[in-house]
Amino acid sequence: MGELLQHTVNGLALGSIYALVALGYTMVFGVLSLINFAHGEIFMMGAFAGLYTHRYVMSHFAAPQWILSLLVLVGAMLGSAIVGLIIEKFAYRPLRKSPRINILITAIGASLFLQYGGQLVFGASPQFFPDIFTKTTFNLGGGATIDSNQILIFIVAIVLMAMLQFLVFKTQFGRAMRAISHSLETSSVIGINVNKIIMITFIIGSSLAGAAGVLYGVAYPKIDPIMGLMPGLKAFVAAVLGGIGNITGAVIGALILGLSETYVAGYLSSTYRDALAFIILILVLLLRPSGILGTKKIEKV
């Protein structure tokens, strides 16, 4: 029982990180119908931005722990938002009218660019992500424990998701974004500044990925320039699982994925953990291509 509880806690923590990344995928797909393959690298950039913010703050100020962690989080979100903005502006925007496969290849090019650029700037060898909070462990009963980092992950993820939910469903921007995801052309006809909304969508999606990068660094304190590859792909699977383009779906899909990964790693074998995400992907697409919460599109003649 304690073991199951432990796996559940770990799975939910992993799933929350995936969820933050998956939200970016699903938002960009919603407005542009584009699978932003550079998103995993934006996540990586966030982790490094957090690392460097931490180093800078530590060497210049004696900030208390909570201000420090807040600064790291904000620094990471800012850093990856800038990266996302640059990619959108210089790589995706010139291609808005081209076939989708071209945009996809550009996305892959951007992803490679960030990976190799990261290796050039940060160095190819892994770096240790600092312990921002002193780690304390709490007993949950039955031998299961939850540590302060996991609690931090839950809190940050929930707060950010609540903010996103408010932004998308309660503000003018959110309404415009949802209109664009229905039809880009119509939205521009009725006077929505499409480019601006897409830009803001990229900023929000990227900053969520940046926050996820910091949380990932806190949970698995070893970061390197190619760390974004697998979490990026898995978050993408999570977005598809929940129904790509659907924000609640992305969170549900990510939690399911995080839980099932930890269960498989815990009870079966950890080597099959990476395959599981793709098996889920194939099964979902075969049985219910629109995902758990997605809507079906009917092709008309």
Partner: protein
């Protein structure tokens, strides 16, 4: 069909002659195309030689992907998976079943296993996923390719994470170029046949093609299987020219690379696929010189940047849908 058969026969004979010129002919060992070393190897710098071999393999991959992505208009991202199946099938057949045979037997059995293995998986995959289309098909094939890679990673018999070492190397430049030309010609003739026109019809408008009496499912399965067959062949050539296999080579990045070749040259154009393969093989290697000159490790950075720039500046690819004369339909 008859015309294709004649062309292929002529081509095999031409290949024999070419091989004779390149490497000399030795019936007693029956190594035919596949003996190593050939005369090129003594003429060329080994580094250039290996680049040329990689170029040939990339041409096979790119042109075979052109059959699915360019001609039939399906979007797949799992080509590296089929290449991996081919490479590992071929290497295991040669190393475990025919360890002591001469290289002709090894080569033909390895190739056969590679092509059939990859084709078989292509058949299974296409039967299960072809009712999907568009991005979803791309995602499933991407997942499939990764599953294949992780499955191989977990088979200890073929080296697992350590990779497969000491794979017999008997593929030479003549062999690689023979196969790449063979692939190009087969796909060119397929495109000009009834099936090819059906494929293009499906690409242009699947529903209209179905109304014309084309079984879109059958045509799609055929193009999928043939394409994965050739990807398997490319994998086999890769295995027996490099001598070392690691699952890392066949990650989805490789699939993307092949797609990039396709799109760079011009989606739907066989000549374009060839150009794309040549350019994207030479580009990273050629940039090595630039890197030596500048002294900073910016080779792959420029490579990535040039992919983005080409997509922005010339989105239809280098050839568009045009073909070279010897590959055009007329």
């Amino acid at each position: 069909m008859k015309k294709t058969a004649i062309v292929l026969l002529v081509f095999v004979i031409l290949g024999l002659i070419l091989n004779y010129i390149l490497g000399g002919f030795s019936f007693n060992t029956l190594t035919l195309f596949f003996q190593k070393p050939d005369r090129f190897q003594s003429l060329l710098n080994p580094y250039y030689y290996s680049i040329l071999i990689l170029m040939g393999i990339n041409i096979i991959l790119s042109v075979s992907l052109c059959l699915i992505n360019g001609l039939t208009g399906m979007f797949t991202m799992g080509h590296a998976g089929f290449m991996a199946i081919g490479a590992y099938c071929s290497a295991s057949v040669v190393m475990f079943l025919f360890p002591n045979s001469n290289s002709f037997v090894q080569m033909s059995m390895g190739m056969l296993a590679a092509g059939l293995g990859a084709g078989f998986f292509g058949l299974i995959l296409s039967f299960s996923v072809l009712r999907l289309s568009g991005d979803y098909l791309g995602m499933v094939t991407l997942g499939f390719g990764e599953i294949i890679r992780i499955a191989i990673l977990n088979i200890d018999k073929v080296g697992g994470a350590r990779g497969m070492t000491d794979v017999p190397q008997f593929v030479n430049l003549g062999g690689v170029f023979f196969w790449s030309l063979f692939t190009v010609l087969v796909i060119k003739h397929l495109r000009d046949s009834r099936y090819g026109r059906a494929m293009i019809a499906i690409k242009e408008n699947e529903m209209a093609a179905t109304f014309m009496g084309i079984s879109s499912f059958q045509v799609k399965v055929k193009s999928f299987v043939l394409s994965s067959f050739f990807a398997g062949i490319a994998g086999s050539l890769f295995a027996h020219s490099q001598g070392y296999l690691s699952t890392q080579t066949f990650s989805f990045v490789k699939s993307f690379e092949v797609i990039a070749m396709n799109v760079l040259g011009g989606l739907g154009s066989i000549s374009g696929s060839i150009i794309g393969a040549v350019v994207l093989t030479i580009l990273p290697e050629g940039l090595r010189k630039v890197q030596d000159f500048i002294g900073v490790d910016i080779r792959m950075l420029i490579y990535a940047l040039s992919i983005i720039l080409i997509m922005i500046l010339r989105p239809q690819g280098m050839m568009g849908t045009k073909e070279w004369k010897w590959l055009s339909s007329k």
